[in-house]
Symmetry: C2
Subunit: 207 residues, 2 copies
């Protein structure tokens, strides 16, 4: 049994979808950001970084979405969620996911969590003003250079797809002009129709 | 043959050390940031993100340090640079490296590259003022919760070690009080004595 600690509308959705795609036996534990539950001693014992997601496994606890996604793919090889037998192709998947966590998610985080990087309200407001441009530039690069189609890596669906889908949930609130990224939006629409994606979203909102 | 595109004093050192540790046959191509060579058409054809490192392999080009490090470990299994036969242990390595790229390196980047996230000089200065605190908090978490010792993952050296060493190069310029992180500093000192680390640093500075 795997237990995913999650919060709705965060990047925890990516691993949640991957668990459903893998056919994993999992349960969910919701962390309430409004109540600052991520800073509770009970949750800090699970993830001292005070963030979601975290995945409790029989061997221990994992954090960081790219690591959790690769773990799901490797633990459930029959689901074929990554090219596990080809180190170069596997690295391409990991490169995409690493770009999402280190650049795309970070650009987005300057809208809601600017306090991580500056104290002054004016600076935090300045960061918020740039989010449409910085997140937009990331997604335009994905649109033109990285998203092969029909799935991120080409013909084969992989753990890169639920992660891209998850970050693409935030585009409109980030102020990105989605007309400039039609292939990303088409990918998002096709992902949203997948039964496991619908299942994961429904589970997060009704848990 | 592998070709590493690098710039001295950047995170490209991590992959460089891993290539040396792996006994890989590699060559180096230096990208001159002062001349904005990373924005040249020739380099954008290699990495449209206009950043180092990039690793040209016989199968194609890889970017993003965590992906490149895992690729080196998987391509040279005899070097034993990651626990390749244990998906959970491998995920722990990847989780550490993901934290470095998405949180630690990002906190550091607000000192030199604040223009990525705001336009106003005052906001960029505000970001710079917070770097000692934000980078310091990351390294205090590594010190107290993540660095097992003697190596990051415990008894076995792995691809997490050159990556931590590389980011720890920047601590003093980031204004972090290194007296608060003696275990990180001890790790850095032991890494600096390793022949492959000395070799990689020498190659970067004399190339």
């Amino acid at each position: 049994m795997l237990t995913l600690y999650y919060t709705p509308h965060t990047c925890s959705l990516a691993t949640h979808i991957a668990l459903a795609d893998a056919g994993a036996d999992y349960k969910l534990e919701r962390i309430d950001f409004a109540a600052e539950q991520q800073k509770s001693p009970a949750f800090l014992a699970i993830n001292p970084k005070a963030r979601v997601p975290a995945l409790v496994t029989p061997q221990g606890i994992l954090t960081e979405t790219p690591a959790m996604l690769a773990f799901v793919a490797q633990t459930f090889p029959a689901a074929r969620l990554a090219p596990l037998d080809n180190p170069f192709a596997f690295a391409e998947v990991q490169s995409f996911n690493s770009y999402l966590c280190s650049t795309v998610h970070v650009a987005h985080a300057h809208r809601m969590r600017g306090y991580r990087w500056a104290d002054e309200p004016e600076a935090i407001a300045a960061m918020q003003r740039k989010v449409p441009q910085s997140v937009g530039a990331c997604f335009e690069l994905i649109e033109s250079q990285m998203l092969r189609g029909p799935w991120v890596m080409g013909c084969d669906y992989s753990i890169a797809d639920p992660y891209l889908f998850t970050l693409a949930q935030w585009l409109e609130k980030d102020g990105v002009d989605v007309k400039r990224i039609p292939r990303v939006i088409d990918h998002r629409a096709r992902m949203a129709e997948r039964p496991n994606v619908r299942k994961a979203i429904a589970e997060q909102l009704t848990d």
